[in-house]
């Protein structure tokens, strides 16, 4: 038995060539198409609210006048305030930063790393020698909420150039690796157990996990980014959360958003 295991491992690690992202995504989407045959793929952009009628009704009640609207208004105001050098966010992004969230995260050849919207916002500030914003703070939430709001209706079309394959692969590994005392991977809850109940939580499908950030979660009582959610998920399985915008989380967001290619953006969103 031991010998067989040894052969398998050597064969596996030697012969493994990176599966190309597109075939990964097709298999990923197929999994959810089969698991939720009666749910339209685009509906997964509403997460658990696409899977549970009672929760959806309560969520629609919130959407009557969602609390994230206050964040979008603050963001719209902050977005247009010029930096001390006269420049503004508009000068750092395509189309003056309006309707561009679907371009992120993107792989940056120069720095050989994944650039998320939050990172791009702080890089823009640094380029105009303004102090960077706290990734878990309100202001970053307001700005990205406004930028997400202007991108509603767009669709993800994330690219993975050859140089970006390693980052994509690391994100993929993080998604499928078990971690923490509870020994769960993202896929344990959001694939294997997707649609089931975990206490009062309906486990949502990862095919809609990147579309609606930042999100106003009632638990946080503020708008928070995807990495704040990564930290919380990790901690819930007993793993130590990583820093927001750390390389591991940026690669995870890169993989996850690629898996959401074609999905419609509907951020910012309200969640529980």
């Amino acid at each position: 038995m031991k010998f067989l295991l040894g052969v398998l491992i050597t064969l596996g690690s030697m012969g493994y060539v990176y599966a190309d992202p597109e075939s990964d995504r097709e298999a990923f989407v197929k999994f959810y198409a089969e698991r939720f045959a009666n749910v339209d793929m685009q509906d997964h952009k509403d997460g658990a609210y696409a899977l549970d009628k009672a929760k959806r009704a309560q969520w629609l009640e919130m959407e009557e006048f969602p609390p994230y609207e206050l964040a979008v208004d603050e963001g719209r105001a902050l977005f247009s305030v010029p930096f001390s050098n006269g420049e503004s966010y508009a000068s750092c992004f395509d189309h003056q930063g309006i309707g561009v969230k679907q371009q992120f995260p993107k792989f940056d050849m120069a720095s050989n790393s994944v650039i998320t919207l939050e990172l791009a916002v702080n890089q823009c500030r640094e380029a105009n020698n303004e102090p960077v914003l706290d990734y878990l703070g309100d202001e970053m939430g307001y700005i990205t909420a406004y930028m997400a709001f202007t991108s509603r209706g767009e669709h993800f079309d994330i690219q993975v150039p050859d140089a970006g394959l390693a980052a994509y692969e690391q994100g993929k590994q993080f998604f499928y690796e078990r971690r923490g005392k509870l020994d769960f991977a993202c896929s344990s809850c959001h694939m294997t157990a997707a649609g089931n109940l975990l206490r009062a939580e309906v486990l949502s499908a990862s095919v809609g996990h990147a579309t609606h950030w930042p999100a106003y979660r009632f638990k946080w009582e503020q708008v928070g980014g995807l990495h704040k959610r990564f930290i919380e998920c990790n901690e819930q399985v007993g793993a130590v959360g990583l820093a927001p915008q750390s390389e591991a989380y940026r690669n995870l967001e890169y993989f996850l958003t690629y898996m959401n290619n074609g999905m419609e953006l509907n951020g910012p969103a309200s969640r529980k």
Partner: protein, 108 residues
Amino acid sequence: MNNLMILLLLTLTFVVSGCSESQESGVAAQGNEVQSLIDQAIAADQLAQQRQHAWIITDELLQDAITAQAANDEVAAKAAAERALFTANAALAQADKEQLAWRARVPR
């Protein structure tokens, strides 16, 4: 593979030292044994953090060990330090296992 060995060895020592109270002489001997357990646990936990596989419980147990040690409650400090080392090594074993195990979960 060797981490699994440490794990096995550790559980053994954990059991053995638990039931046969060794007649070590003097509190000092016990004191630095606790300190070495704490140092080992910290080292293993830092390694787990570098591999992004650290567990929250290890930090909590380390805090317990250090506070117990400060209150020179050697027995409690030793128990907490041993458990911290155990969970830190379990996290490392998890990281080793997952190095390959994750591929099997990727849908084809």
